[in-house]
Symmetry: D2
Subunit: 280 residues, 4 copies
């Protein structure tokens, strides 16, 4: 019994769901969940995610893909079939603050975050001790604003990971790095984007006197803190909350927004579209 996910998108038109669900039925599949969304039923763009179970041993991702290919062509669709038994490899970059890392490790340890973690990489020695109970390599690379040492970062990340998580990594990755890595990178920003982009969002929040603070998990693109937003969390603050209080409150927001984003990601529930996300 094997579980697959089919992601599909195309110009909205009649009969898509019928064709796709018929395809799954004819292969003896049982749909576990199906989600779909159209930006507009008249002339919009259509997105679908179907999770289904097959119990014929002989079927695999490749044979399914081959057989689905003509259907996709019919609708001029973009698509992907994923074999859920293949676990994604998630590299983690982190700086000094280990709260997000710790939260992800807990989910990993409990089996809820079903990934492989080839390494945790930091420009600080501090997070090393958070890994003592885990069998995960820790790489210390003393990168800083003057020398980001991106070649080294890339040498660790490029082949060993399917995606990267910046779990409070405080250096901006260059457009060159993004281009060379060329896979998804999820960042947690400790502010409510699009407000308070860039450095020191808590300082900006205090200066502005906002009554609610936030955190934002988003895909990284070549514009700082402007990639597609995946999830956001917020909490009330008051004039009494100083920077330390904001940091403490913010940590809970960051942990939750990042964990939610990653859990959605590894379950292939996120689709990027026009610098936004559809999160099924």
């Amino acid at each position: 019994m094997r579980k697959f996910i089919l992601l599909f998108q195309c110009q909205d038109q009649k009969g898509i769901v019928a064709r796709i669900s018929d395809f799954i039925f004819k292969h003896g599949g049982n749909i576990v969940t199906a989600d779909q969304y159209s930006t507009d039923p008249e002339g919009g763009y259509f997105f679908m995610r179907v999770e289904f179970i097959l119990n014929k041993e002989q079927q695999n991702k490749d044979s399914l893909s081959e057989e689905f290919s003509p259907i996709a062509r019919e609708f001029s669709g973009q698509w992907k079939i994923i074999d859920k038994s293949q676990t994604l490899r998630m590299g983690i970059f982190v700086s000094e603050d280990g709260h997000c890392l710790l939260d992800l490790l807990y989910l990993y340890m409990s089996g809820e975050l079903d990934v492989k973690i080839p390494f945790v990489l930091s420009n600080s020695e501090k997070p090393r001790k958070l890994l003592t109970q885990h069998n995960i390599p820790f790489h210390y690379i003393p990168a800083n604003k003057e020398n980001r040492r991106e070649a080294e970062l890339l040498s660790y990340a490029l082949d060993s990971t399917d995606f990267l998580v910046l779990a409070r990594y405080m250096l901006v990755l260059s457009p060159e790095f993004l281009l060379k890595y060329n896979k998804d990178i999820i960042n947690i920003h400790h502010g409510f984007l699009p407000a308070f982009k860039g450095a020191d969002p808590y300082g900006k929040a205090i200066k502005q006197g906002v009554k609610i603070i936030g955190a934002t998990a988003h895909f990284v693109n070549d514009q700082l803190d402007e990639g597609p937003i995946i999830s956001q969390e917020v909490e009330y603050v008051s004039h009494k909350d100083n920077r330390q209080a904001l940091i403490r409150k913010g940590r809970n927001l960051e942990k939750k927004a990042l964990a939610d984003a990653i859990l959605s990601y590894v379950d292939y529930r996120i689709i990027k579209h026009e610098n936004k996300t559809i999160v099924f």
Copy 2:
């Protein structure tokens, strides 16, 4: 161009989505949204809601129903096809506090709540003035705990409404009334069910010293405040909040929970199952 909704439920099995979406496709329909849920992909119970557009004038609910009937039988399913152009008739019962009524009237006036309102009925004269700008009949029936005057209530509601909303109606409807009315009734309870059932939930919340209060919209059944929950809202409170503060905070929760529940209901997005609700 006409919009229809198909609601379907049956024992989970292979091919349901394929058959249903094929049925819609073959009738020239375009699926606007489709939601489905299975309590368990292995041996669970399956629920589906599909909203689709047909542009053939000759098709109507009855012809569609006749043609869908054999498919439903195949899966031993329960089902209903709804013609979205037929507007539901929503009767409103209210006592003294008019905030939920006012909120519903605003949604009604703005066109977002697409219902007919045959009447507002109250055991107080106070809400009458909230209706002056609307063309909705107001009936004052001086019901109270000693004399609930349910025959009169029923005479207004039975034939003229498709469902009832208790928008802070402070008298319990008897099992006899429910049996005779025999259609859906949605109530707003000013407490976080299942905590604080029955009278004076704010008094109970104060006595208990809770730090969060809530409101709950639910279907009425013959157990007081025990019908299937549709939506809930909550807000933080502190030791400083007295009864008046709780009432004020609670009003916002009640308005939101009730409006959300009704908007879902009139869009046929709520399915009752085992004294719970699936809200698509």
Copy 3:
């Protein structure tokens, strides 16, 4: 038995609370609530709000003020004594969307919002009907972006009000108007400031793909949407929420943020400081 509020601020120093509470005690007063805040116990700025009851008939705001004056001088403080029996006069400006107006009227009618409302003024005829059950004058002034008719606005507002509320008034008031009016103006912005300033915040929120929307009540100053923030509210949204859904969700946020701000304001619980607010 009369209720007074003392607002006090000065450079933080020893003995302030002792002197102030001693002053109240010596006048036979009983402190109902006292709040204080210092930006920093070492060299910061100190704020205090004390609400107290006096039962000597002969005492009034003026005699109290005269006697308190030397104490304030001692600490080089800014201060104000308010007689709670004097009700503030709140003018309301509104455009087409009446949800905030309706919410304020409900609070007013229920006695919870203790103000006088000398008028509701609108650049649309639509809100007129919301006032039919109230005895509040409605002024229609067909102002628009080309002709803001601020002289007329001012002629209504200047002498008859103690503060103004922009309950979704969609024209920006000019710096000249603000200068001439020279009293507090509270605005509700249908976005989570400082994100999405200016026009069409919901359009901007959709374009940005945020997962949470907000509303912000703030004092108006001569920078658009940059005055001190008083209260904010937020709610989750998803890719499925179109503009209409955002507007509907936003209305609840706007109503709540604005009502909270005004209730704090008329209770003298807001202190402006460095383009921020302390809300006791």
Copy 4:
């Protein structure tokens, strides 16, 4: 420069704040924060918490207490002066699930949770590895429902701790244990009290079909899950959330509610009153 906290409560009456603040002023103290609350300005009960700084070296808790004693007698008040430099000793009991423990350890490590932790005690071996990076003794006591081994628990806790935290300790402590320990115990319950007391609150939440789940930090008394509530947290759930999803969402709520409660507790901001709490 030393920091003290004065907690005071008595029948509400005139002049309390004046006397107390005068006392602090006369001792050369600077008030950092002062909070007060009266259940009713007429005939209610009054509570006060003042945090102040003294810079005279010779003053200590005992001399201050001796001098304050006559003032307290005057008002027939209950009171306590706390020297903030004396760190509380917090014992932790935990069962298998280590998420709350890990969260507390992070706060402890970062210096924000200013306590001593004499031990972590568990009826499972699982949490041991969470302590490897800390210098905190771990005691494994294989207690279970049949044999709670409370004598052993008590032997660890009685003299070495000032209060206990049940960070998801799944055995109920007997009234005898509570009587013998006779200090504060803070528990985290993974449900929204007073709903879902006792075992398996998530199972109950699913069965009930609630749309919001919660967690509650409260003081332990001899009634199961009925001690004074300190803090609560909530999150939306839907029909799609199975038990595993509820557990995952619940963990964030539990961590936050418990951490908030403990941070308030060690800062002496919680006052118990009539089986409720005032949290300044």
